[in-house]
């Protein structure tokens, strides 16, 4: 009975509630900005203007969003199987190796062959790296939160070793590979749209944005419209019911983590093959962790992840603009503002829900 009382219409759960949380976050951020002596309204308009006010701003926003769609989906897929994958960061990092190996050593192939190979490289390396904590969870019962955190650190060390000692372009100090050949980099969005006669600003936004969109659709179909996704959700929602139904949880845990790692590998596609055109130190830059907030805010639904990723992309881009335009607001403060948004939309996502339930019930009674 109490369950019935706590039901909300879908639009309240998926649209109104996140919006209210965002407003709360902005209010709290406004107070912080006020404390620095700047005008909150000006800060908001700088951020929004910076994120969406120009072709360049939109390009950067979507470029950041691309990374977070990948990591957000990675976290969401694992979550549907009852797993909290904190390791998207490390999986994305190792996936960079897969992409780089293809782009460095197979660049005698034409682009249309390199592209699928690089996607496969990202997916396989990301998945393989996720397989370690997955196996430990499925077979040994080691908690995936702990093991994925630990594998992140191992990934940092591994990649640093490889970049410093093995993959570094000879004759330079910074631990980076050489630039990939033009046929082994992803075309930028301005080039793609330019080819069909649409003129847009030059930004790091590239072909992998479309790959990310395809992944949104793919994950949606997989999770809700296939037997595989059904079995995955049964394991996530009730492992006992899964055993009852003859679904072996261990297998689904492995598979969902492999898919999760493969999705996290998308970051490597966007960054290594797309934006940078080379493999460099620490390119995932925390997107794996932001993906957790993105998945939380998007309620683990692919469409929600897409929307949340664009919001966070806007925060990144608008925040950079803010730090640039308003000197009193330091880059650290921008990070704090982003943190507030994560706190309110992620950590406190359902804080307002009981009040909303009461409010809507009163509204319904008045009708």
């Amino acid at each position: 009975m109490s369950g019935t009382a706590l039901r909300l219409p879908w639009w309240a759960d998926y649209i109104l509630l996140p919006l209210l949380n965002l407003v709360l976050a902005l209010l709290a951020a406004g107070v912080v900005v006020l404390l620095t002596g700047e005008s909150p309204l000006e800060a908001v308009s700088t951020m929004v203007g910076g994120a969406f006010g120009s072709g360049e701003g939109i390009g950067y926003t979507l470029y950041y969003a691309t990374d977070m769609v990948f990591t957000g989906l990675a976290v969401a897929v694992a979550f549907h199987c009852g797993l909290f994958n904190i390791g998207a960061e490390g999986q994305a990092y190792v996936a960079g190796l897969g992409v780089a190996l293809v782009c460095l050593y197979l660049d005698f192939l034409p682009f249309w062959l390199i592209l699928p190979l690089a996607i496969a490289g990202a997916a396989i390396f990301g998945a393989a790296y996720a397989a370690i904590p997955a196996w430990l969870q499925a077979k040994r019962g080691s908690h995936i939160v702990i093991t994925t955190i630990m594998t992140n650190f191992i990934a940092y060390s591994l990649m640093e070793y490889l970049l410093v000692n093995v993959l570094i372009k000879p004759g330079q100090m910074s631990p980076e590979t050489r630039f990939f050949a033009p046929n082994a980099t992803l075309p930028k969005m301005d080039a793609i749209l330019g080819a069909v006669g649409i003129d847009i600003a030059q930004t790091p936004l590239n072909l992998s944005f479309f790959v990310a969109l395809a992944c949104v659709v793919l994950v949606w179909v997989l999770i809700w419209h296939t037997r595989w996704g059904y079995a995955l959700r049964v394991v996530g929602a009730s492992p006992r019911a899964a055993v009852y139904a003859g679904i072996a949880p261990a297998g689904r845990i492995m598979q969902s983590m492999l898919l999760s790692g493969a999705l996290a590998g998308g970051v490597a596609l966007n960054e290594v093959m797309g934006a940078q055109g080379k493999l460099l130190i620490n390119f995932p830059a925390g997107y794996g962790f932001t993906g957790i907030a993105v998945a939380l805010m998007g309620r683990n639904h692919p469409l929600g992840v897409l929307i949340a990723a664009i919001l966070f992309g806007a925060l990144y881009q608008g925040g950079a603009e803010l730090a640039f335009d308003m000197p009193a607001i330091s880059p650290y403060l921008v990070v704090a503002l982003q943190g507030l948004v994560i706190l309110f939309t992620g950590g406190l996502a359902t804080m307002l829900r009981p009040s909303l339930v009461r409010l809507l019930r009163v509204g319904a009674a008045a009708r």
Binding site: T4, V221, Y230, S238, Y244
Partner: protein, 513 residues
């Protein structure tokens, strides 16, 4: 508080006036009145969803009533939360115990009333007090025993001790005998009688009419959120109460045709099973089931029935032994899991329906294909055909009277009885050769019980083999063509229902056969 002497001695211990409570569109209590005399055992009966739990939750402060008054000893009080109820001497023993398993009895009893930050000074006092209460009411429990190791009946005594230790004057017991053996239930009634003799007031919430007749002084009946009658127990009958409860006459006997028994379809030999902790729960069990018969396994819960059922259903590996079904033999070396067994014609209605038989956050139609999601009938190419699954679910719902008939509603929002009917529909409509059923009517109301029993008998009459595990002796006696009694992982009795009486079964169940 003014001295009790200022109150008229005739004021009832508890009086509820015009209690009204809505949950959204559900009108759970409609202007309910209830008056309970001091020193009485007062029965409160009604089907599931009749509103008894809501009413008691209001008295105990879990919910607040939309309108209505609560009077304790004739004085109007406000009970906004459980703490208020406890202050007024009201305590509740829940159906699912609220005990901390790894703690001792004494630690559980003083939990929340420790009497200070340091336990050292308080504990000896608490121990003496506990001993006094135990003696006074015949509540025999070792204060230093770890609660998790105690049998269910003893755990219940701990709950009652806890309530009395906190100074309970009014004790609410919610379905207290659901988990007890007949002997344990008799012990409980003895304790309740002792409480009454000491002037305590007991409200007994149950759906078992026999218990009402055996122990209560007065009884109130609820139906569909309303109070439909108050009776003095000595002046009423089970027939009258049953009619009040369901609003029509009850069919007293189930028409049971003689069994048309065929050949053996499920054979179990020397089956041993260990649980996750490595404890041997099933110890060399052997039996067979023939087509057209219902074999009932009686026993106090926790004597290996759960593990036996799970092993047979392919949810648990065998330690040793063989099971033959449909010509295929399953053993520890050649295990078969639930999906393989389903293909061999095994269906399973698990005892823990909410956590095992369905997926609580899933829509009804999603739970309606649990275990059969690989079936080509539900697929369109590589995708699941949700439209067909929904149609199939609505068909099941209509045939098995599942209400509300909404395929998209979350499974956890259905009542226990309707969840059970949906699971039974899913398993029985597959027309399996063998059906395993665990606790089919636990927490199901009388109308639902009747429906489920008829369905099981109909299936038996179609020549299917059914293995029924139940802690309800009535149910076993009513349905089974053969009764096996399980105690401590072994089968300690194999008898025909016409040769069995409740006392004898109870002794076997307690290991005293």
């Amino acid at each position: 508080m003014p001295p009790a002497g200022l109150q008229p001695r005739t004021a009832p211990a508890v009086e509820l006036r015009g209690i009204d409570k809505r949950f959204g569109t559900v009108h759970a209590n409609r202007s309910v009145d209830l008056s309970v005399q001091r020193g009485h055992i007062h029965g409160l009966i009604g089907e599931n969803g009749a509103g008894k739990s809501t009413l008691m939750s209001i008295l105990y402060g879990f919910y607040t009533a939309d309108t209505g008054e609560i009077l304790i000893d004739g004085r109007e009080v406000t009970i906004a939360e459980s703490r208020d109820a406890i202050r007024h001497g009201i305590e509740m023993v829940h159906q699912h115990f609220m005990l901390v398993d790894p703690m001792t009895v004494l630690e559980n009893v003083i939990l929340g009333v420790e009497g200070g930050a340091l336990l050292r000074r308080h504990v000896p006092k608490a121990r003496a007090e506990l001993r006094r209460i135990s003696g006074e009411y015949g509540l025999d429990v070792d204060p230093d025993a770890v609660v998790g190791n105690l049998p269910v009946g003893a755990q219940q005594r701990v709950e009652i001790l806890k309530a009395l230790y906190r100074g309970a004057e009014i004790l609410i017991l919610d379905e207290p005998t659901g988990v007890l053996t007949p002997q344990e239930a008799t012990d409980l009634f003895r304790v309740l009688a002792a409480l009454r003799a000491q002037g305590k007031t007991v409200i007994l919430v149950t759906h078992k009419l026999r218990e009402i007749m055996a122990i209560t002084d007065r009884v109130s009946v609820m139906r569909a959120g309303q109070m439909v009658g108050h009776r003095v127990t000595a002046e009423t009958s089970t027939e009258e109460l049953g009619e009040l409860m369901i609003g029509r006459k009850l069919a007293t006997r189930l028409d049971k045709a003689p069994a048309q028994i065929g050949k053996v379809v499920l054979e179990v030999r020397d089956l041993s099973v260990r649980d996750v902790m490595g404890v041997q729960r099933v110890k060399g069990v052997g039996f067979s089931i023939r087509s057209g018969e219902i074999v009932g396994i009686a026993g106090v819960s926790g004597n290996g029935q759960t593990e036996l059922m799970e092993a047979l259903a392919g949810m648990r590996r065998f330690e040793a032994g063989h099971v033959t079904i449909g010509g295929t033999t399953v053993s520890a070396e050649h295990p078969a899991f639930a999906d393989a067994l389903r293909k061999l014609g095994m269906a399973h209605v698990p005892e823990d329906r909410l956590r095992t038989g369905m997926v609580p956050p899933f829509a009804a139609c999603e739970s309606a294909i649990l275990g059969y999601h690989e079936d080509a009938a539900y697929a369109r190419g590589p995708l699941l055909d949700w439209r067909r699954i929904e149609r199939h679910t609505l068909g099941l719902m209509e045939k098995y009277e599942v209400k509300p008939t909404l395929a998209r509603l979350r499974g956890s929002l259905f009542s226990g009885g309707n969840q059970q009917k949906l699971i039974m529909a899913r398993e029985m409509e597959r027309d399996p050769a063998v059906l395993l059923v665990g606790q089919p009517t636990r927490g199901v109301d009388i109308g639902g019980i009747d429906f489920i029993h008829r369905r099981l008998l109909a299936m038996r009459d179609r020549g299917k083999a059914i293995l029924l595990v139940s802690v309800e002796l009535d149910e076993i006696l009513r349905l089974a063509d053969r009764i096996l009694v399980m105690f401590d992982g072994r089968i300690v009795g194999d008898l025909l229902p016409e040769d069995a009486d409740e006392r004898q079964l109870g002794l076997l169940m307690a290991g005293a056969g």
